[in-house]
């Protein structure tokens, strides 16, 4: 049984890596729900000028025909101009890559960014699309039949947990 990394411990390392690379105009977008939590922690650590953007990919998923509008959609708010900007897309767990694909499609409906870099807290492998993270907190092996989830406690503390897939 792989020992799961401490989510809180991963944040300073990621922040340091990112700080070295951000430009004045860089903006950050967190993906609901887990990615938004991570982004909310990273954003202040990087001193970015633009406020944090939050995105829900509910309307861009590729499984609508099968699953319908199951997940309670939250509102996407992007309080800055996407056009010509360096973007940091933040998610909690990178797995098949489909979420990121949907997020990029949605981003391009807002404008044409200069670049998009993917920041993830954990990469569990199992890619089904040619997607890669430029910044990654940790690689995690997930046993078959399990799912890797980010949880946020009442006091805001983040933690990575495994749970069974039904």
């Amino acid at each position: 049984m792989t020992k799961l990394p401490d989510a809180e411990a991963l944040l300073p390392g990621l922040a340091a890596e990112l700080k070295a690379r951000v430009t004045p105009g860089t903006a950050m977008i967190g993906l609901h729900t887990g990615g938004a939590w991570v982004a909310e922690r990273l954003h202040p650590m990087l001193g970015l000028k633009e406020p944090l953007g939050l995105m829900d990919i509910a309307f861009y998923r590729d499984d609508y025909a099968k699953e319908g509008l199951k997940h309670d959609p939250k509102r996407t708010r992007i309080p800055f101009e996407v056009e010509g900007r360096d973007l940091l897309l933040v998610d909690d767990v990178l797995y098949t890559g489909r979420t990121v694909r949907a997020a990029m499609n949605e981003l391009f409906d807002y404008g044409r960014p200069k670049s998009i870099s993917l920041v993830v807290l954990a990469d569990r492998g199992g890619r089904q699309l040619p997607i890669a993270a430029q910044y990654c907190g940790a690689q995690v092996d997930v046993p078959a039949g399990m799912r890797l989830r980010l949880k946020r406690a009442a006091d805001g503390k983040l933690s990575l947990e495994l749970e069974h897939v039904e």
Partner: protein, 316 residues
């Protein structure tokens, strides 16, 4: 017939026929989803690819440009293909039955039927006969229901007033013939609005109105007192000269919304109207264009609400 025809076996919304009988959770789900879509309509690319490849058939047996257009816009913003059928003009006049028309369209791979019909209950008949993957959205049936209008009215109220549990809402005018009023009343009572009032002359209020859960007023000044939301209903021409009302002038004097009558309502009351307005009959211009009026925003919210309804039913 006991089970709710709007819900599938899992209790999810498969058809939207009426706000009556919709569980509170589903009403809220629709309003919350509409909230997310509101963001889409504000940006440059107003489309999301959610319903790409799906076909929405607008089956309007009663002509209507406004409602049909908003459904068309909503469907296109979901990237769905839209087919408009002005059935009033074509097959019905050739004597084809309602169910035959629907069966023919079914054969053309429809996913969603948006139906407006002059007979109350027509969408229920259609919903009983469509295939499992087809969904019916009622765009207005007779005087029975106009659920998307009721929902966008609820959305508007929530947007400006936030908390339903403390509101007094008045609906003024021809409630007897109004499907908009019925849909709004059911939604308001489901969401726990403590006082819903209907205001109008006896000839324009239905039998057993109290059974809908409303307080009846014939005196507008008494009924509008302290209201947080005032909804004015459209008075159609044919009502004004028959045995229901003597004239538009007399109606306006007693039931038209003017600045001085509005002053009796709560100071931050909002004024709504499903449109199109008859200025000088149910509402005067200073009020319609004034600071309390949220009539234009209602129209915008209508698109987000219809996008929400379509995407929820089509996915179930």
């Amino acid at each position: 017939m006991s089970s709710n025809p709007q819900l599938n076996a899992n209790g999810e919304l498969q058809h939207l026929l009426s706000t009556e009988g919709l569980p509170r959770e589903i009403l809220l789900q629709i309003l919350d989803t509409a909230e997310s879509f509101a963001g889409v309509t504000e940006r440059e690319v107003k489309k999301v690819p959610l319903m790409r490849g799906k076909s929405v058939f607008n089956l309007f047996f009663e002509p209507s440009t406004r409602t049909r257009t908003t459904f068309e816009i909503a469907a296109k913003r979901l990237s769905a293909d839209v087919i408009n059928l002005n059935v009033a003009a074509s097959s019905q006049s050739k004597g084809e039955s309602l169910l035959d028309t629907v069966a023919n369209l079914s054969a053309m791979q429809a996913d969603v039927f948006v139906v407006r019909h002059a007979s109350s209950g027509a969408p229920y008949l259609i919903a009983r006969h469509v295939k499992p993957h087809e969904h019916v959205i009622n765009a207005g049936d007779g005087r029975h229901a106009h659920p998307t209008q009721g929902l966008l009215d609820l959305y508007t109220i929530r947007h400006y007033k936030k908390d339903f549990s403390r509101l007094t809402v008045a609906i003024v005018g021809d409630v007897l013939h109004s499907r908009v009023a019925r849909s709004l009343i059911h939604g308001l009572t489901t969401l726990g609005v403590p006082e819903v009032r209907v205001i109008g002359p006896q000839t324009l209020l239905p039998a057993g109105a109290e059974a809908l859960g409303v307080r009846v007023f014939h005196d507008m000044r008494a009924g509008i007192k302290g209201c947080d939301v005032v909804v004015m209903l459209r008075l159609q021409n044919e009502r004004m000269n028959g045995a229901l009302l003597p004239s538009a002038q007399e109606f306006f004097k007693h039931y038209g919304l003017t600045t001085d009558k509005l002053a009796l309502a709560s100071p931050d009351a909002i004024v709504m109207h499903p449109g199109p307005m008859n200025r000088g009959v149910e509402i005067d211009s200073p009020v319609a264009d004034g600071p309390h009026s949220v009539i234009l925003p209602q129209v915008t919210y209508g698109i987000a609400v219809r996008m929400a309804v379509m995407s929820i039913v089509a996915g179930n």
